[in-house]
Amino acid sequence: MTWLRRLRRLATRAVADERGAGYMAAFIVLFGTLTVGGVGLLVDSARIMAAERQTSSSAFEAARAGAQAVDAASTRAGGATLTADQAQSRAAAAAGTLVSGSGGQLAGVEVTGDKVVVTISRSVDPWFPVVGAATVTETGTARLAVGITEEGQ
């Protein structure tokens, strides 16, 4: 029993003892700041990465929609080509539909030969003051490929 009393006395002393309290306070402040900083870094970088993924997905899909503007006459002649202005307008229209509601903006559509390149940018505001505001710019490329079981056939 005296053993239990001693343990209790030790516990009381450990709680009532104020030596080192400044050190403890400094530790708690530092630990708290680092924890919040670490969580902020993880959360905001994940949000930026998810925004990048989503933006590149929209850009890729818009480019794919544009690359389907095949010129009918050239297809009948045997070598399918894109109708440039139609590819441009289809990609732009698709991009407009795909980014609506996500806060993204169409930065440009470029049609070169049988290739459509769509660029979409979007800004991400961080929730924690660890990483700065990021502007995500992603490009999606789609190319007209003609073939039956493989390209060129």
């Binding site: 969580v39 989503q54 997905s57 818009a62 389907q68």
Partner: protein, 141 residues
């Protein structure tokens, strides 16, 4: 023995250790939780995109739903994101015809069973992605 117990030297360190160790452990679990949510959110966005592409190349609404569900599930499991009860996938299209837009929404409740020590809440992640339905393809309505 009495001298040792009555001694004040080092008692603050013992209290500090009793305090610091669980705190550090909790912080590690918190980082794991947040990191897993972030990776899971990215995986769900990616799965939604892949499922939307899969749905956009099908010929009717029923097979689009089946393709999207299959693709989203296999993408998430390949990325290592465990959804409690599996991901739920819904497919909607403004028109099942060429030039229409198909939208796939993937919902995943990230498993947090092993983080019970910090009472991690089960969070549900949702992402949707759209794709334009193939122009040169026949559709049944």
């Amino acid at each position: 023995m009495t001298g040792r117990l009555g001694d004040d030297r080092g008692s603050s360190d013992v209290a500090a250790m009793m305090f610091i160790v669980p705190l550090a452990f909790g912080a590690v679990m918190l980082f794991t939780f947040v990191g897993r949510q972030g990776a899971g959110a990215e995986g769900v966005v990616h799965a939604a995109h892949v499922a939307a592409v899969a749905a956009s190349t099908e010929r009717d609404a029923g097979s689009a739903q089946a393709a999207a569900t299959r693709t989203a599930a296999s993408t998430l499991s390949a990325a290592g994101t465990a959804c409690a009860g599996g991901p739920s996938v819904s497919v909607a299209a403004d028109a099942w015809a060429s030039g229409g837009t198909v939208t796939v929404t993937v919902t995943c409740t990230v498993a947090t069973g092993d983080l019970g020590a910090i009472d991690a809440p089960a969070r549900t992640l949702t992402a949707s992605a759209s794709a334009v339905i193939d122009t040169y393809r026949g559709y049944e309505t």
